[in-house]
């Protein structure tokens, strides 16, 4: 019989928690919560049902090891059906979104075509405080369009979405740890979650930053006092974290420096390209003005192909030599498996 104390001992206390939010979003008694940038807190009742433990991709259980450490053994970027260089064809979307609007366009498509009823995404307020939200239409999706690199426990919203009777099918946009947790859920006893979770959209991710990045790092490393309300977005280019302000001013912080403000749990992630997703997207390995898109299931590939056919996505001819950057970064991240072995 496992419960949250096992999770605490194996994951939280060893700084392995990725903050994906799956434990909080699946606890049937809603006893786990995220506050601030830290590990989940227990506040409520526990019936030792073991759900929180069973969905976590960072425990020592056999399933968890198989899901979170398996990418170590996969070739290059993991299994895939198709690889594309793509961007949105809608200039209005590109203008407001990150990553050339690919994810925003995909979400618009799946919601409007009825592939899913809702999507769980991350949004931010004007102070760049991020939080997960349930998007039911394109207007909701637009609120999440430029949020990237700042952590939020995206899956903590799962329970609300799953128990909503007006929602039959759900898409989730998440970084690899969240996608791994969805794979854990698919192998758990949470039948209702399995029935409703339909589409996993993964993001390429090296690591994700805590909100302290804004409040402390910018002040300390850049010696600047930037009002968070002036930040337009974060981006990563050429091993630099780019802070772009509303007035187009850019500040560049070396990734090595920024890494100090990443979640510690990221050190235990060996998946760069969200290998358990239906489709995954990222900047790495893409030519200028495009994004790399990797489809891994029939569902994911069908969506991208249909969007290309309908002119919703514009593609560039795929070039293996350009894409190889994503594979190199991926390979580098897999070296983190040593952290599991040593810690």
């Amino acid at each position: 019989m496992t419960d949250y104390t096992d999770l605490k001992r194996e994951v939280w206390d060893r700084d392995r928690c990725s903050g994906c939010g799956a434990c909080a979003g699946s606890c049937p008694l809603e006893a786990l919560h995220f506050r601030g940038d830290d590990n989940p807190l227990f506040d409520g009742l526990c019936s030792k049902c073991g759900v929180c433990y069973s969905v976590c991709p960072r425990t020592d259980s056999e399933t968890s090891v198989g899901v979170s450490r398996a990418p170590e053994n996969s070739d290059n970027i993991g299994p895939y059906i198709g690889r594309y260089f793509a961007r949105s064809s809608d200039f209005q979307i590109i203008k407001r979104a990150q990553g050339f609007g690919v994810v925003t366009s995909v979400l618009k498509y799946v919601l409007e075509e009825g592939v899913v009823d809702a999507a769980i995404v991350v949004t931010a307020d004007i102070f760049m405080n991020t939080r997960p939200m349930i998007a039911r239409n394109f207007a909701d999706v637009r609120k999440s369009a430029k949020v990237k690199y700042i952590w939020a426990p995206v899956l903590s919203k799962l329970r609300e979405a799953v128990l909503d009777e007006s929602i039959d099918s759900i898409a989730v946009v998440g970084v690899p740890c969240a996608i791994q947790a969805l794979e854990m859920i698919s192998r758990s006893k949470l039948k209702l979650y399995q029935k409703k979770l339909k589409l996993r959209i993964g993001l390429f991710c090296w690591e994700i930053f805590r909100h302290i990045l804004i409040s402390e790092m910018i002040h300390k490393e850049l010696q600047l006092d930037i009002d968070p309300r002036r930040i337009w977005m974060f981006d990563i280019r050429k091993r630099k974290l780019v802070v772009e302000l509303m007035d187009s001013t850019e500040y560049h912080i070396p990734l090595e420096t920024a890494s100090r403000y990443a979640r510690k749990g990221c050190n235990y992630c060996v998946d760069f390209t969200s290998e358990w997703s239906d489709l995954s997207v990222g900047n790495a390995g893409a030519p200028k003005d495009f994004l790399s898109v990797v489809t891994r299931t029939e569902l994911g590939d069908g969506i991208i192909k249909d969007m290309i056919e309908k002119g919703l996505l514009v593609t560039d001819s795929f070039d293996e030599s350009v894409f190889s950057l994503a594979e190199r970064v991926n390979k580098k991240k897999k070296e983190r498996i040593r952290n599991f072995k040593s810690g």
Partner: protein, 97 residues
């Protein structure tokens, strides 16, 4: 009234206690996590194997609070049908009487 226990999908139950915890009447608010778990296990056992007056008194007392509103079905993450389970358990208790 559906009394086919197979439709309750009891094999899916994870004994989390959400079905009683989120009772729309708030009838089980004073129970802690392990008491909720024991209640689910007790009601499930009665539904499957019958009521034992000498051992299941406390479970019966708690189950008597259930008015079969069915909100429990909406909060079960494992797609069990607690409403059918509770109905069958109540019938087993009646039969024993």
């Amino acid at each position: 009234m559906d009394l086919d226990l197979s439709s309750a999908a009891l094999e899916n139950c994870i004994y989390c206690g959400a079905c009683f915890r989120y009772c729309v009447l708030g009838a089980y608010n004073e129970l802690d996590g392990m008491e909720l778990k024991a209640l689910v296990a007790g009601v499930t056992r009665i539904a499957r194997k019958g009521y034992r007056p000498e051992k299941d008194g406390r479970i019966k007392e708690l189950l008597d609070r259930c008015t079969l509103q069915g909100y429990c079905n909406k909060v079960c993450p494992a797609m069990v049908n607690p409403l059918v389970r509770n109905r069958v358990a109540k019938k087993r208790i009646e039969e024993e009487r």
